[in-house]
């Protein structure tokens, strides 16, 4: 993953880490762009908080934060609640339809607060 410049003001505060339920998402607005932020349960080895697009590329509707979190092999995934496609939470890749993907967003946890970086890396991860 690209090194993230955490010194700029491009970070948006989303919420307190404590308010996030492990393996469940919330949606947040990043300068008008909806993102889905997930806190992964800590007993499974992976980076703790991740963010991807909230808009489901299959249906075009903002629902990804309401999807179920799980794993496929070693990959952490979120499942679209509408038509059930699975997306890799770290790369945004869709496991079921190579034609679509979610953009991923950098996340930082500081002083118990969750911040999401304002620049989305190139789509497809």
């Amino acid at each position: 993953m690209t090194a993230i410049d955490t010194t700029t003001e491009m970070w948006t505060e989303v919420c307190d880490l404590d308010t996030l339920t492990p393996d469940r998402g919330v949606a947040a607005l990043l300068d008008g762009v909806p993102v889905a932020v997930f806190r992964l349960s800590a007993d499974v080895d992976s980076s703790h908080v991740v963010a991807v697009d909230h808009v489901d590329p299959v249906s075009g509707v903002g629902v990804m934060a309401r999807g179920l979190v799980g794993s496929v092999g070693v990959r952490d995934v979120v499942v679209s609640p509408l038509l059930k496609q699975r997306f890799d939470l770290h790369t945004g890749e869709c496991l079921d339809d190579p034609g679509v993907w979610l953009r991923t967003w950098p996340v930082r946890v500081a002083d118990g607060r969750v911040l999401v970086g304002g620049v989305a890396p190139p789509a497809g991860g």
Partner: protein, 845 residues
């Protein structure tokens, strides 16, 4: 080469079997088939004829696949009779004046009920029991006000079946048998006595050793039956309806007219390849006489159809002797079986077990020198029949302790002995004459489900009685082949749902993390998480979104509402039994109006409000609760609706208060989480306006209580519910439903409705009855306790959500911008707000 012409006369069970086989296996399109059938409809399952009275329709009973009716190689002529044959020119004449030329002719005209030449037998109100038209006419006649008594003349198998039908029509029922006891052909006297006691207990009046001398009546129809040998001044038996069931006669009239040889006692004489005495003409089914015998059962007929089909389109095989007939049936709920030789002759011994208290009588006829089983009779308890019948036919050797098979408790059946013990030649499906060998062959060729086996061998597609054995065989074969049947619910748990349920129940796990760390791997997924959530909830573990359970629920459960295609939600308040007050209707109308919600009556007798944003749900539900309504669990795999009709409160036909019962059931099981959704209904009388027979749990009022049906389904694969218990009182009804539902919740697969579960349940409905009614597993107390815990701990999930600010706080669209909410685009249709059309995409399955 132009196809040759095959003419099949008669479209009954056997004639149709021949058509299926010829058309299905005719790879070279060598035949064009003309079928002439006297009845106005395509062939149907005559063996299951009586189930028409229990609600199975003509379509359910049909044996002719709809595609076949339009198949280019088949020409069906219904409602037509073949009247004459020119056997030299090979032309058949039909009653409509047309004629059909043939290369091969197969006569499958079955038989006709024998009506003894008694005075008055032509009076209106006299019937026979053979066709759907007969049944419809009987029902119509019996429905006329004031007709209340029926009699069956003939106490054989069919007569008793007809008697059961009269009972079902609500008539006081008499059975008149000339012989000294019932079923003289199959039973000996002690066995028949036991049967008579059982049937008498059910309110059927039995008159044995009585011969009817006349039916009396007038233009209005039958009035009474007079007996021979009775005192001249004895009162005749007053009846409104008479059914003759005094045996059958082969319909060989066409053959007789055409110079085809018939047997001494009727029936077209055929050789081992089913050929008659005239070239180009064969006979099959009940009209045929093979080796001096006419068979009145369908299995030998199917065997004959197979022989002819093989000759026409296959390699050509020899017929095999259909063997001694065996019968197993449930007559009015009494198990009854007879097989092989039922009366001991010189070289035989008889072993008898008779229990007049339990009304069980079992007799085995054993060869006195070799000890081999020859045949037997089982009344009141037919346990072990399948295995015993195989021993009697020599397919399985008789064990030295055959005596231990006498008492029903110690009896083993194939199900317990294991099908491994059988030789390949053992017939497993008697309806379709499928052996163990051919089933194993199909399994080896890749048929790994009961359905797939049925598709390639026909096993299990007749009466269905062999399905449990086929299932056993399938499992043991797969085991032997080293194929592990993957029952794991997903990659994270090496268990099926039932095992997981037992583990969670046994270890009293209360959270996802406990379950996952104890039994699973990885982070879980969209399959196992909701399964665990549902199991935890079924075991009454409180609010479904507390603790880490919140992360288990699919979005519907998580939002306690149903997600719609544009990301908004719908709201379905519970409307128990469909009863709603005007004030509640007004409140719902106000709420919908204020929030701009699209409003629709659902297919489940309730009201659905569509188009609410996630953040609007708490405010809307607050208003719904204030109107005295609660969550309808439309979002959960849980009890949905209990549909009702108005019942005897309003309806002129109603016999019980169906609304109150529906409400009682709905309130008792509301919120109950299950492997899949559960639907129920209560109808106030047999007219069944609530469609209870299409529900998981169906209740239909009777004069004496309630009939309980289970395992019905609409949806993708509709299934009529099975009648489970009759005339039970309120308490018994609820107790049975408690046990039934909890047993289902414990043992079903994920997303398996009760219909599919019941179809796959080993032992089927009988087993279910024994578990729920007779407590054969000794778990009924547990099941009831589990249900009691559910009922006690129930709380409306929306009330619990709104009470708690933390729970309520979940319902925001964007955590960092609570006031901003994404409003999807809307358009208007018929005065209401609906989502903008979107392009359709494939869902992942």
């Amino acid at each position: 080469m132009a196809p040759r012409s095959l003419l099949v006369v008669g479209n009954g069970m056997v004639g149709q079997k021949l058509v299926d086989l010829v058309v299905g296996e005719d790879r070279t399109e060598a035949w064009h088939v003309v079928v002439v059938g006297e009845e106005s409809r395509p062939a149907y399952d005559r063996v299951a004829l009586s189930s028409w009275f229990e609600g199975r329709t003509e379509a359910d009973l049909s044996l002719v696949a709809p595609e076949l009716l339009h198949h280019p190689a088949v020409d069906y002529r219904f409602g037509r009779v073949v009247t004459d044959l020119d056997t030299d020119a090979r032309v058949a004449a039909l009653d409509d004046g047309t004629s059909v030329a043939y290369d091969e002719l197969v006569i499958a005209t079955g038989s006709t009920p024998f009506v003894p030449p008694i005075e008055g037998r032509d009076l209106a109100g006299c019937f026979v029991y053979r066709t759907l038209d007969d049944l419809a006419a009987m029902r119509e006649w019996a429905a006329v006000e004031g007709r209340s008594v029926g009699a069956v003349i003939g106490g054989g198998l069919l007569g008793l079946e007809a008697a059961n039908a009269l009972r079902a029509l609500g008539l006081v029922t008499h059975v008149i048998e000339m012989a000294p006891h019932l079923m003289p052909q199959q039973l000996d006297r002690p066995a028949a006595r036991m049967l008579e006691r059982r049937i008498t207990e059910m309110g059927v009046h039995i008159h044995c050793g009585m011969s009817t001398s006349a039916i009396e009546g007038d233009d209005a129809g039958v009035r009474s039956i007079r007996f021979a040998d009775a005192d001249a001044d004895a009162d005749p038996l007053v009846v409104d309806l008479v059914v003759f069931s005094a045996g059958i006669r082969p319909r060989d009239d066409l053959a007789r007219r055409s110079g085809i040889e018939v047997g001494e006692r009727g029936g077209i004489v055929i050789d081992d390849s089913c050929r008659s005495s005239v070239a180009g003409i064969s006979a099959i089914g009940e009209v045929a006489c093979h080796a001096g015998r006419v068979h009145g059962l369908v299995a030998p007929g199917y065997e004959m159809a197979r022989v002819v089909a093989d000759r026409l389109v296959g390699e050509g095989a020899d017929g095999r002797d259909p063997g001694a007939p065996s019968t197993k049936l449930k007559l009015m709920g009494v198990a009854l079986a007879s097989f092989g030789q039922t009366v001991a002759d010189d070289g035989c011994d008889e072993l008898v077990f008779s229990d007049p208290i339990a009304k069980v009588h079992r007799k085995l006829v054993v060869d006195a020198t070799t000890g081999a089983l020859r045949g037997g009779i089982l009344v009141g308890d037919a346990e072990g029949f399948d295995l015993l019948a195989l021993m009697a036919s020599g397919d399985v050797s008789t064990p030295s302790d055959i005596g231990s098979f006498l008492s029903p408790v110690s009896t083993s059946s194939i199900a317990t002995v294991g099908p491994d013990a059988l030789p390949d030649s053992a017939p497993i499906c008697s309806c379709n004459a499928v052996t163990k060998g051919s089933i194993c062959g199909a399994i080896a060729d890749g048929a790994h489900t009961v359905k797939a086996i049925g598709a390639c061998t026909s096993a299990g597609t007749g009466c269905g009685g062999c399905v449990p054995t086929v299932n056993r065989l399938l499992r043991s074969e797969l085991d032997r082949m080293g194929v592990t049947v993957d029952q794991r619910i997903c990659e994270h748990f090496a268990y099926d749902r039932q095992q997981l349920f037992d583990l969670i129940r046994f270890h009293r796990h209360r959270s996802w993390s406990e379950v996952r760390s104890a039994h699973g791997t990885g982070r879980g997924c969209e399959i196992c998480r909701p399964v665990v959530a549902s199991i935890l909830a079924s075991l009454a573990n409180g609010y479904v979104l507390d603790g880490d359970q919140a992360a288990l629920q699919d979005t519907n459960d998580h939002a306690l509402a149903n997600l719609q295609r544009n990301g908004t939600y719908s709201i379905v308040p519970r409307i128990p039994g469909g009863e709603v007050t005007p004030a509640q209707l007004i409140a719902l109308g106000r709420i919908a109006d204020e929030f701009g919600l699209y409003t629709k009556i659902t297919g489940g007798q309730r009201i659905d409000l569509f188009g609410a944003r996630l953040d609007q749900l708490p405010a809307i539900w607050e208003r719904v609760l204030a109107a005295g309504m609660e969550s309808g669990h439309a979002y959960g795999k849980a009890l949905r609706t209990v549909k009702s009709c108005v019942g005897d409160t309003w309806c002129r036909y109603g016999v019980q208060d169906s609304v109150s019962m529906a409400i009682q059931i709905e309130l008792r099981y509301r919120g109950l989480r299950a492997p899949h959704k559960i639907k129920a209904a209560v109808s106030g009388c047999a007219r069944e306006c609530a469609e209870a027979q299409s529900k998981d749990v169906g209740v239909i009022a009777t004069e004496r209580g309630w009939n309980l049906y289970v395992g019905g389904n609409g949806g993708t694969s509709p299934r009529h519910a099975d009648l489970f218990a009759t005339d039970v009182d309120d308490d018994t009804l609820v107790r049975y439903i408690d046990r039934f539902l909890m047993f289902y919740i414990r043992t079903a697969d994920r997303l398996q409705r009760t219909a599919a579960w019941l179809d796959e349940l080993e032992g089927g409905l009988d087993h279910l009855r024994s578990v729920v009614i007779d407590d054969s597993l000794g778990i009924c107390d547990e099941l009831e306790a589990d249900m009691a815990r559910h009922v006690e701990s129930y709380e409306c999930e929306w009330a619990a959500t709104l009470r708690d600010p933390e729970r309520r706080a979940r319902f925001v669209e964007f955590v960092n911008a609570p006031e901003a909410a994404a409003e999807p685009g809307w358009s208007r249709t018929r005065g209401q707000r609906v989502p903008l059309p979107t392009t359709r995409r494939e869902a992942r399955v």
